[in-house]
Each structure stands twice: as C-alpha cells, then as structure tokens.
C-alpha cells in the first residue's frame, strides 16, 4: 500500500475542476457507448420510423390531385419529423426517468460534475442518433419513394436549421417530460401516449388536409407540426404547398415556433428538472 504518499491531505486538492464542455463531450461518448451496446434498443429505435414509412407509404401511394406528388412522398418528411422527435423527445423522456428512478442521477449529483455536462452529454447522444435516423429515412425515401434530395444549397441550409431547431426543442421537451412519470415502470406509457396523439394532430400519419382544423390548431402549439411542415417545404416541390393549412410553407413561422420551443423548453427544464424521484424527496 502506498499510504504515506497521500497521508498529508490538509487543504482542498490543488488541481482545477474540469470544465463542463470537456465533461459534456466525455459524457456524450459514454452515453453513445451505452446506447449502442443495447443492441435490441438500437435496432428497434432505428427501425421503427422506417417500418412505419414502409407501411403508410405502401398503403397510401396514389397521386395527390393537383400537386404533382404521391402520398408516399408525403410520408417521407412526415416520418423524418417523427423520427427526429422519437430520438429526442421520446428517448430522453423515458431514459432520464429511468436513470432518475435507478438513482443514476442522484449519484451524479453527489459528484462535482457540473449539471450542464449531463445535459450536454444527452445533446450529443440525441444529435448523433438523430442524424443517423434522419440519414436512414432519407436513404429509403430517395431510393424507394422517389423523393429528391434538397435541390440547392439554400434548401440544404433550410434542412439544417429545421433539423437542429426541431431536435433541440423536442429534446428539451423530453427532458422536461421526464420529470412527470413517478417511476421507471410508468415512464414509457407516460411519454408514448402524448407523443402518439401529437403525431396524429401534427399530420404525421394523416395528411394535414384531412385533419379537422381544431386538431391542427392544437398541434400547432407543439413543435412537431412545424417540424413536419418545414421538412415538407424542404423535400416536396412547391406545387404541393396547396395541401398546407395556410397554403404556403411558412418557413418564418416554422423558425419562430421551433426557436420559441427551444427557449421555452430550456426554461421549463431549468424550473422543473429534479435529480431525485418524488418519493426520495
């Protein structure tokens, strides 16, 4: 034993506390490692929107009158939006609730890790899985359903900011919702039901032109509807604008609502986030 070497511990340790950005990156690596080690979770997470795309796009494939597109093509941006929300909102909402219940959060709180590092780690996880999910759907959409890649730099730029704002807003919403379930057992039901409802009222499964206005108005309060709309604007020809509630892609409004959710979601997280379950006080 090297007992004498450390015997003289008088004042606080001399070293500096590591920074949140560095630790956030480290945590991101750790989060990804944990994610990809759960094979079944990886397969189902990525397969889910692809399977749904296949089902819906195969069942509904007629040409939509006066738009120059098929129903199948409508489902590509819709499933992409849904995939972005499931890798961010759903996966964070459930996994953080589980980590809280299993006292992983409490343990982290007992170390000098800055809280920001935890959230940065989650953002890295969501960013990598979100990009992968989107890339898979894009590959299927372009090869199987005849959707074109964004046609110029401007459309790629739109794609990028819609993706980043949508993913961030949904991730923050997921972190906030993780405080709602009382235990790990109830986490997936608590998170999945609102997500499912949101997908219906936001025009993921059913074309916006067939959804009652009051439902669309409800969906418009949340980020998913705008994420869908923005991605349609990126991937569909302008002739398909007639299907929108407003008759246009409304990119300005998309940016505004998604950015508002990023800001509001952050405030919500800061106000409601808990490191312990309710019964732990």
């Amino acid at each position: 034993m090297t007992t004498t070497a450390v015997r003289t511990r008088t004042a606080a340790p001399a070293g500096r506390l590591p920074g949140a950005w560095t630790l956030g990156l480290r945590r991101g690596v750790l989060e990804l490692r944990q994610f990809f080690r759960q094979r079944d979770q990886v397969v189902f997470t990525f397969a889910f929107p692809v399977v749904f795309l296949f089902l819906f796009a195969s069942i509904f494939h007629d040409t939509v009158q006066g738009t120059g597109i098929t129903s199948s093509q409508l489902y590509v941006p819709a499933m992409m939006a849904s995939g972005i929300m499931s890798t961010s909102f759903q996966s964070l909402g459930i996994s953080i609730a589980v980590e809280r219940d299993e006292k992983v959060l409490r343990r982290l709180r007992g170390t000098p890790m800055p809280p920001a590092a935890y959230f940065l780690g989650k953002i890295w996880l969501v960013l990598v899985t979100g990009v992968l999910e989107t890339a898979i759907l894009l590959a299927v959409g372009t090869t199987v359903y005849g959707v074109d890649l964004p046609r110029d730099a401007a459309h790629w730029f739109d794609f990028a900011w819609i993706f980043v704002l949508g993913l961030t807003g949904c991730a923050l919403l997921g972190i906030a919702v993780s405080s709602v379930p009382k235990s790990a057992k109830s986490a997936s039901s608590v998170v999945v039901l609102p997500f499912l409802v949101l997908q219906f009222v936001s025009g993921v499964y059913i074309n916006v032109s067939s959804i009652p206005d009051w439902m669309l108005d409800l969906g418009a309060l949340f980020p998913l509807k705008w994420l869908c709309q923005g991605l349609r604007g990126v991937f569909l020809p302008d002739s398909a604008r007639v299907l929108e509630q407003a008759g246009s892609w409304e990119f300005g409004k998309v940016a505004l609502v998604l950015a508002a959710w990023c800001a509001g979601g952050l405030v919500l997280c800061l106000l409601t986030f808990r490191w312990k379950t309710r019964r732990d006080g």
């Binding site: 006292k103 409490r106 007992g110």
Partner: protein, 286 residues
C-alpha cells in the same frame, strides 16, 4: 475553511416528513481523520442525517457544517472533497467497471489512480466486465470505488456492507482501515455492532432522531453497561444469576458459602450489543 479541526459539526438538527419526526435535535461532531460509527435501529434517523450531510436533503432546523461549508450550498469544489457510498447501488449497467471508474475520475480535480482504486476494492479481475454481469457484493464494491475515486477528505458510508457475505465484509473492513490510515475522515452507518466496533474510533448511538450515547466502544460499555452478572448453580441444582456492581465481593461471599469451588461459576460483563439494545429501547424485544 474548517477552523477547529472538525470535519463534521452538527448542532440541533431537525427534519420532519409530514407528521413523522425523523431527526429531532441531533448533535454530532467528527474530528478530522476520525472514523465514526453511527449506530441505530431502522427509522432512527441515520440515513436522513447522512443525506443531509451529503447535501442531498434539506433540513428544517439546526446548524450543519461539513468540511467547513453548509452542505445545502455545497459548491463543486466542496463536492470534490466529499465521497459518498449510497445504500443502494446505481452504476450504469452497460459499461465496464474500468470505464465507469475512469469516467468518474474525470469529474475530480485530483483523482486517485483508477487502476489502484479498482485494485483497492478487489475488482481487478473484473475490470473489463460489464456492470450488469457483477454480483451484488461486487457492485457494492464498485460503489465504494466510485465513492473514493476523487480522493475524498471525508467519506460518508450509508450501510455499505448490507448484503455482503462474511468474507466480503472482512475485505471491506480492510479497505476502510487502509483509507482511515491514509487520513480519510469516515462516517459509517451500520446495523452491525461488530462492524462498528471493528472499524470505528468512536460510536454514536442514535434513537428516535437524536444521539443517546457516544464515545469509544469500550467507554460506552463501561458507562452504560452497569456492572456485571454473576451466575452459579446452587447445591440443589437450581441455576442462579445476580446483577451487581461489585462482582468480586459476590464471588468472595459465594466462595465462603460453598467452602471452595463454586459450581457453574460465570462472571460476564455486558456486551456492546446489550448496551446498544438498552440505549435504543429494544431490550424487551430480545
């Protein structure tokens, strides 16, 4: 900074959960470098007290200083000086022992060597194993590793050996002793009296939310034990027992009466367990 050589200084601590008073005016001090054993039955307020010291629970009243700071407003620098081992394990199942210990080391400004710490808790052979593949005792030892990886000045252990087999418990005791030899201040809550007696410099017995007795194990026995019991067998075969503060005098009198050997003579001092049960009001439960 701590001025008077105390690692922990608690005065008049109170905590209620609804109608239940968990901690009711508890006073406790731990000197730097001391190993204190906190003993008490379930529901006596031990865990609540430890959680307040960790900075993980608020208090209703009282003064609390841990390494010179109020745990409720503990900074990152303060947290890096306090090591915590929880009652229930909570390490990420998909990572290996080595990955986890190395990762936690990064949170601290002056961590210990991860390999050395893994060796210290006897997990070197399991360093590459996923945590989900570890046994319960091995997971608890990993918890201890994560508690000491930052090289804490104060280590808070809440019933660390619950669920250990006897061999693992002995190993754990050696680990605690070596940490104490290095100068780490240790607060240990436990149900096991022999554990407290083996490890602690000083014991504090908690009952109904307050400290009812404290001192070195031998002194506690002396102070609260109250004499000895003399047992013998009468000529007609009836066993007799007498509690007395002067056992020697009793034996002398018996020697005279029996004119030599006393049949079945036994003189016993109360054990720490007797003292503990008497102080925590559980004597009748035996």
């Amino acid at each position: 900074m701590t001025t008077d050589g105390l690692a922990v200084d608690v005065r008049g601590l109170r905590k209620r959960y609804g109608d239940v008073t968990a901690v009711d005016g508890l006073d406790l001090t731990i000197a730097k470098g001391e190993v204190l054993g906190l003993l008490g039955p379930n529901g006596a307020g031990k865990s609540t007290t430890v959680e307040i010291l960790q900075g993980n629970r608020s208090r209703d009243a009282g003064e609390v200083r841990v390494l010179g700071s109020d745990p409720q407003t503990g900074t990152r620098a303060w947290r890096s000086r306090v090591g915590i081992v929880w009652q229930d394990e909570s390490a990420p199942a998909e990572l290996t022992v080595e990955e986890t210990v190395r990762h936690f080391a990064r949170y601290y400004p002056a961590p210990r060597d991860p390999d050395e710490v893994i060796g210290l808790v006897g997990l070197t052979a399991k360093a590459g194993s996923r945590i989900k593949a570890l046994s319960g005792g091995q997971r608890r030892r990993l918890d201890v590793a994560l508690g000491v990886i930052g090289g804490p000045e104060l280590l808070l252990l809440d019933e660390p050996t619950t669920g250990f087999d006897p061999a693992a418990r002995r190993q754990f005791w050696d680990l605690i002793r070596s940490l104490a030899d290095e100068g780490t201040t240790i607060l240990l809550t436990t149900h096991y009296l022999e554990e407290a007696e083996a490890l602690a410099d000083r014991l504090a017995i908690v009952a109904r939310g307050r400290v009812v007795a404290e001192g070195e194990p031998a002194a506690l026995r002396e102070l609260h034990g109250g004499g000895a019991t003399v047992e013998w067998t009468e000529q007609d075969g009836t066993p007799r027992a007498e509690r007395t503060d002067t056992p020697t005098r009793t034996v002398v009198e018996l020697t005279r009466r029996f004119d030599g050997e006393i049949p079945g003579l036994l003189v016993t001092r109360p054990t720490l367990e007797d003292v503990y049960l008497r102080l925590t009001g559980q004597e009748e439960a035996r």
